[in-house]
Each structure stands twice: as C-alpha cells, then as structure tokens.
C-alpha cells in the first residue's frame, strides 16, 4: 500500500471504512510527515493527544462496521471519521497550544475548545496539530515574527500567503488532508490561491466564532482549506450550525454542501433563485450567469495571474456558464474602509491582553499602567502594534466621525454595489490576489504594499458574503493562481456547485508541488 499521506481523500475514507487502515496508522503517517516537514506550517504537535483521538475513531469505525454488517461501505453518516485535520492556531484547543501566532499567548493553555474544534472532533476527525499563521491573523504572508515564516511548498523561498498560511501550505504539501482557517479580509482565500489549494470563507455568521481568537469581530469568519471543493464541503458541513455562544451565529435550515458540489448552482433545492433550465451533462453550468467586475481586471493585476484567471473563466464558460461584464465601482475604496474598520475593532478586541487574566506579563514593571505598557510592548509584534495604533487613532475623540463612521458608510456602499450586481448575475468571478506568492522578506514590515495586495478579497469580507478560491493554473515560475468566486449572501451551495463542476472538468486542483527535499 502507498504511504497514507499520498492516498487521496476518497481512498483514505474507503481504506478506513474497510478497516484496511486504522485511524491510528493514518494519524501516525501524518504525524510523521508533519514532523519531517521543513515548511514551518505547524506550531504544535502532540502525538499522544492525536493518537487518543485516532483510537476513539477506530472504536467508532469498528462499531459502525459491526452494526452495518458491511464494513467496506463504511459509515456514510460520518464522512470525517478517522480523517486527519489540523486547526489554524487562531482556534483555541485544550491540550494543544493556542498562541494566535503571538508571543502574548506563547505559554497560554486554553481551558476550553473553540466551537469549530469541538464540532470537527465530534464529527470524528483526528487533530494532527495547530497551524502557523500571521500574528492574531493580521497579515497576508504568514511571516510570523515569533515562530518564523511558513514556506510555500511550490517554492520554499516564497511566502505561503496569509494569514492562514500554515493551513494552505500544509494541505498543499499533503501534511494534512484539510485544515481550518479564518478569513477577516481574505485570510483563507489568498493563501489557498498562493498554495494552489481550494478555500472557502462562508457567509458571516455561518461558522461560530466561539473560541476563535477575535481580530475584527464584524468581519472574522471561520473557513476551510482543502484540495477540492468536495473536501472543503465535507469539513465545512461539520463546522456550520447555530451556536448560542456566538451572538452573531445564524439559525439556518440544514443544507448539504457535499451534495451541492454535484448539483446545478441555480437548483432551487440549493436555494437558488432561478430554475436551472438547459443544464446538461456536457454543459452543467448552462443558465448560470457570472459577473466579471471590470475593477478586478485593471492595471494592478499581474499579467501571469490575469492569464490563469482568464483560463479559469474560460473553463467555466466551456461548461455552459455565461459571463457578463459588471462593475463594482468602489473596489479601490475597500482598502481604506477595511484598514479603518479592522484596526478599530482589533484595538478594542486586543485590549483584553493586559497581563492580568491570561497570557504574557512583563517580568519587571512599576505601577499597573507600567505593567500594561511593558506587557503589551513585549507581547505584540510590530504589525499588531501598528494596527492597534491605527485603531486607537480612528476611534479617538475628534476623528471618530471622519474615519470610523466614514469607513462604515463606505462599507454600506460597497455592500450595495454587490446587491445591485447580484440583481444581474448569479456569481462573481475574478482574481484572488494581484500577484503570485512573493519572496520571503520581500515586503515584510511594509504595511502599505501588503494592504494594497488585499484589494480583491476585501470587498466580499466587508459585505459579509461567501467567497471561494479555486486553483486555476500557474503563473511565472510555476506558482499557483487562484480564481475567486463570490456568491450572494448565504449562497455557499452555489459556490460549491460551480467549483464542483469546474473541478470535475479540469485538473488544476490535482497538481501537486514538488516533494520536499531532504535538508541539505
């Protein structure tokens, strides 16, 4: 048998269900791969905890086999049973460290599991460990100032994107079949694009934020990174659902995201708005109208990225979708709006790190105020400090209306633009990032350059819309490019249907990075 880490997802499911492989064997294979990797994708691995979860999965698999009498068919009711998963280190976990990629929480031990961690474990997935990211998810390169940069498996001298860079790199390199991430302004989609894997940020309110260390509460949303839309669907399915512990958690009817991957994007049973007239096996997306915002294809877009994105769009067209030019005229303004709102919320959220109840406390200090100031100076990295400072400024007396309220008005206009465009089209498509992955160190501590690169992911974040990154080929130097799909509010099923059809017809998502070379 092949090494467990090289089995594709469905083979892994089948082997586990047929008891050809135990969950412990699978977990051990992945633990070994994670330990041997030099991508710096993992921040914490606890083999004993992982094995304990795998043993429980094995017991459940054995019980399911006995009750069905057909072990080989497996427990379809629990598609994640025994499958390895890893969590971005923004979700708190009992047992594993919960650092948020920060020195502030370097020694923190969470007394509870995040809702997402709890649910994914209840679905039977086996946690391999915690994944590296930008500090407090603030960044787009995962060049973590404390724990080091995550390396892109396609070119280890380049960044993996961020902030869920560890999640994307680990999935791309086969260190874990799928991983959780968080997306505030593009932090699932952009690293997924840069590492050549599939990622989805669902509608704000789909995934409970309980135990997801807060960055910008009106924007933060849990998401998923996997190789394919189908695998994303399986993990997202386990994560969504109402949670009374998150005041913004939505109460929604049940949906089957995995089934949606094989459906038509406008099938009414998937809550589409129009009938799927005309769809056939060779034109599964017939009837689907996809808007191409002209602002997403301007001069800031690198030529190689444009080419790959256009190839992706051509593939959607070949499947029967119609493309329509549309306009999101305030796209540029998403950058200033986001970089006021997110830091404002961050400065408030991060005020809890004061050295009193948890986290780092300075070794030496005078009075209480001095303790706060030294603790926070030592605990936070430079980008986090910059954002807290910007947030304090835009919320301060005399500037609140000019910046914070103004940014919220812009946010409304940006959301209104989407509403208008979604009156004409069913989905929006465009690039995720203006460039492929840049070199490690190339733009570290250059906030403006990093912020400008977020332009295509910020608008959907501000509007709270579901959006996905799907591999669509390669740019110069064989660096992956992602195609972004944006759907109307709560229309994740439409994203899954479009991405599912695309991935059944194309092979971009099946491409693998070169195997990691042994250290020289």
């Amino acid at each position: 048998m092949k090494e467990v880490t090289s089995l594709d997802f469905s083979d892994l499911q089948r082997a586990l269900a047929a008891r050809e492989l135990s969950a412990v064997e699978v977990a051990d294979g992945y633990l070994e791969a994670a330990a041997a990797s030099r991508l710096n994708a993992f921040l914490d691995i606890q083999p004993e905890l992982t094995r304990r979860q795998a043993q429980a999965a094995d017991a459940a698999l054995a019980a399911a086999g006995r009750s069905s009498g057909h072990a080989a068919q497996g427990p379809v009711a629990m598609p994640l049973l025994g499958i390895p998963v890893a969590h971005k280190d923004i979700f708190v976990t009992r047992g594993w460290r919960s650092t948020a990629g920060s020195r502030m929480l370097g020694d923190y031990r969470s007394p509870f599991d995040a809702a997402v961690v709890e649910r994914v474990a209840a679905a039977g997935a086996v946690c391999i460990g915690k994944l590296n990211c930008d500090e407090f998810a603030m960044g787009s390169a995962s060049e973590n100032p404390v724990y080091g940069p995550v390396r892109n498996p396609w070119d280890t001298e380049r960044v993996a994107g961020g902030s869920s860079g560890g999640s994307a790199a680990a999935v791309a390199a086969g260190l874990v079949p799928f991983a959780t991430g968080t997306d505030t302004g593009g932090s699932v989609r952009q690293p997924a694009a840069m590492c050549g894997v599939t990622g989805i940020k669902p509608t704000y309110g789909r995934v409970s934020r309980y135990g997801m260390i807060a960055f910008a509460s009106s924007l933060d949303q849990g998401g998923v990174i996997a190789r394919s839309a189908e695998e994303c669907a399986l993990l997202l399915q386990a994560m969504v659902g109402f949670d009374p512990r998150d005041s913004t958690s939505l109460q929604l009817p049940d949906e089957d995201f995995f089934a949606a991957c094989a459906g038509h994007p406008l099938d009414p049973s998937l809550q589409g708005t129009r009938a799927s007239a005309g769809a056939t096996e060779s034109a599964p997306l017939a009837g689907l109208r996809i808007g191409l915002p002209r602002e997403f294809f301007g001069e800031g877009l690198a030529a190689d990225v444009r080419q790959a994105v256009e190839d992706g769009i051509a593939a959607l067209r070949a499947l029967g979708a119609a493309t329509v030019p549309v306009s999101l005229p305030r796209t540029d303004l998403a950058i200033p709006a986001y970089y006021v709102i997110a830091p404002a919320e961050a400065s408030s959220n991060l005020s809890r790190f004061d050295g009193v109840r948890y986290g780092h406390r300075a070794a030496e200090y005078g009075d209480l105020r001095d303790m706060y100031m030294r603790t926070r100076a030592e605990g936070f990295g430079s980008e986090v400090k910059r954002r807290i400072m910007v947030g304090c400024y835009v919320l301060s007396h005399g500037y609140y209306d000019a910046y914070y309220v103004k940014a919220q008005q812009l946010r409304r206009l940006i959301a209104d633009d989407f509403d208008r465009v979604f009156g004409e089209v069913d989905l929006i498509a465009g690039p995720v990032s203006p460039t492929t992955a840049w070199r490690i160190g190339e733009q570290t501590d250059d906030p403006v350059r990093n912020y400008l690169a977020d332009i295509f992911t910020l608008p959907a974040s501000l509007a709270g819309l579901p959006a996905m990154s799907v591999p669509c080929g390669f740019g110069a130097g064989r660096l992956p490019v992602g195609l972004q799909l944006i759907a109307p509010y709560l229309q994740e099923a439409r994203l899954f249907a479009a991405a599912g059809a695309l991935q059944r017809a194309t092979r971009w998502h099946l491409e693998r990075p070169p195997a990691e070379r042994a250290p020289s």
Binding site: R109, S218, P336, S347, V356, M373, R376, A377, M389
Partner: protein, 95 residues
C-alpha cells in the same frame, strides 16, 4: 493629514504600549504611509448613507435571563500570570 511625534506618543498611551524612540520613529513613518491610503475615504461623498456596522441587518439576539454557566474559576485562572485565593494579583492601585 500627517501624524506628528506627539500623536505617536499620545496613541502609545491610549494603546497602552510602550515604544522606544527608534520604534516611535518607525511608527511615525509607517503610520503616515498607512494614513496616506486611508485618506482616500475623505474624498467620497457619503451624505445620507447609513453606516454599516455589521453584515447582519437583524438586531442582536438576546437569551433568556437564566444562569447557564457553571463555576470554572479554577480552570480559567490556571493560565493567569498571578493569582491568590481566587483573585488576580496586580500592582497596588489604591493606597
């Protein structure tokens, strides 16, 4: 608009973060670059636009006023830097 060294000191106090002089100089430069982008906001006419504070239009849900939490003080304080008799220890603030 341009931030001044005084602004940086004032913001450091508001943010409760100590910065040395080199850090203050770097912050001044970087934050002025950032505000160079943010300033684009001010050119947009937003007269009459209702600020969007949140992606959800519905008001926040309220739960019933019932005791639902159990006492987890020990577990929650296990990760505190300094505790004594169930209390968090900080430098004296009242003489």
């Amino acid at each position: 608009m341009s931030l001044t060294p005084d602004d940086i000191r004032r913001l450091g106090e508001l943010a409760r973060i100590r910065f040395d002089e080199a850090e203050q100089a770097d912050l001044l430069k970087r934050l002025n670059e950032v505000f160079g982008i943010i300033e684009q906001l001010r050119a947009v006419d937003t007269t009459g636009v209702v600020p969007m504070t949140h992606p959800q239009a519905a008001p926040l849900r309220q739960r019933a006023d019932e005791v639902t939490e159990v006492d987890q003080r020990e577990a929650n304080q296990a990760c505190a830097p300094a505790v004594e008799d169930g209390l968090y220890l900080v430098p004296r603030v009242v003489e």
